[in-house]
Amino acid sequence: MIQNLLRVEKYFDSPTEKLQVMRETLNQASGDLILKAHKPHISVRNLNVYLAKKHILKNVSLDIPDKAITCIIGPSGCGKTTLLKTFNRLLQNSVDVKIEGDVLVDGENIHGKEVEVESIRKKMGLLSQRPCPLPMSIYDNIAYGPRIHGIRRKKTLNLMVEKYLREAGLWDEVKDRLKSPATSLSIGQQQRLCLARGLAVKPEIILGDEATSALDPISSKKIEELFVKLRDQYSIVLVTHTLRQARRIADYVIFMYLGEVIEAAPASEIFSNPKEKLTKEYLDGYFS
């Protein structure tokens, strides 16, 4: 199998193609290699987060692989949302927050002095639990991001709107009513709109916080398929409560418990053969 991998390394120039083939090759194989094939996109080192003096994230260290789907699982209140919000520095908005440790995105510390919050956030699209369209038309929702980043040309915007709506699988459903308010869409469509809106600022990472839990099964499946489709271009981090979803789409899984990372491993490994007792108990549904 190593041989195979080396062959892959040789014969494919485009990285996405390479990954595609690698994935197929490694379909059943040890996931460790997957991680090695993907360099880490986000690295967290000794992260401690305190909210209102409460110690929420305890000495978290982990790597989020590049161009793969990482699922964060764990019981309610264990700090998954907090972790996601630390990634794009949205935590700072709320009550007195203390953050220690490093979060490196592409090797750059996001809490560094000269880092612009906006450029960090631009790198990461966020998909929240409830779809949250902005109070404007469908078109303007997508165009909002490009516009604030300085794109004004009508033609470019039109093209972008179409491209990202297509990418989110929404174009055919809304192309005739781009000017109607975004809230007139169904919840599932709204969530895809939010995804398209996030993609339109050309992020490298997509963060999803239980992005499908408010949706009906069909919409949720559509979103899931989108994630799978997008994983070649983006690093995707999903918080999820549905283990089955994690099993279906995750390449890499992080299990958290009470603010600590208990286990982080490739999906195949963690689901078939968890190292920690806690992980096993959680996966077996002893607690949730």
């Binding site: 612009e116 906006e118 604030i148 980043h149």
Partner: protein, 303 residues
Amino acid sequence: MNTIRYNKYRQAKEFLIRHIMLLLTLVSLTFAILIGISLYYKSVPILDHQSIWGLLSGSSWRPLKGEFGFFPFIMGTLWVTILAVIISLPLCLLAAIYLSEYAHPYIKKIVFPMIDVLAGIPPVVYGVWGILAVVPFISEKLAPHFVEFSTGYSILAGGIVLAIMIIPLMISVFIEIFDALPGGLREASLSLGATNWQTIKKVVLRKSFPGLAAAVVLAISRAFGETIAVLMVCGNVSEVPKSLFDPAYPLPALIANNYGEMMSIPLYDAALMLSALLLFVIILAFNAISRLVLIRIERNFAL
């Protein structure tokens, strides 16, 4: 390259907006202090002339002779205010309990907008109503039973008009306080077999007492500063009133009535500004205390 420049521009814009807003906010916080200082500054001449206690306890008001005794005005204000609270407090308390504990949502839907309208009616219209309805009622129907003669322009008229004016404020704060009580409290009491009314008496009212008190203080300070309506129906005679049917001359009315001539008589403007300062300080203190209490309550109940 272009994007970097664009981002620089965005950052600069953000910086500018942020700091202008901060500046405005900070400046707005000095506003109350500014009012206090400027009113004080304007009333210094009379404070130099006479001690504050002398002014407050003096009962002779003869600006032309340089005598400025505020006592009748303070008494007038107190009488009218206290009367207004005595009338409106039981009404508001009963109505607020009814609306928040008993009334069908349908009734609330009808009554709340009416309270809003009552709150929106301008003071001067209340004054007109006082003149049209309350004053004649007192002089023709009510006063003859008690005193020989009353014009109707009296403490009673002022108190009644003012009572209705402070009802919206009082009732809405009351209702807010009742609504803020955790629902579990009521259920706990009810599940022990207490009746609805017992629960209200023993649990709801007791638990919300500090809030109710704060609301009353808020209403008092509103009544204290009300000017035009009271001025229109109180009679405005600068003597210490002795009965409800006597006219009175509350402080705000004093200021409003004499602004025209105050510039021509020495110390007169200082005396009027002093009364404005008095009103300001007292109402500021009352408001600050009751708002703090209300904020505390909101926070405690929110947990």
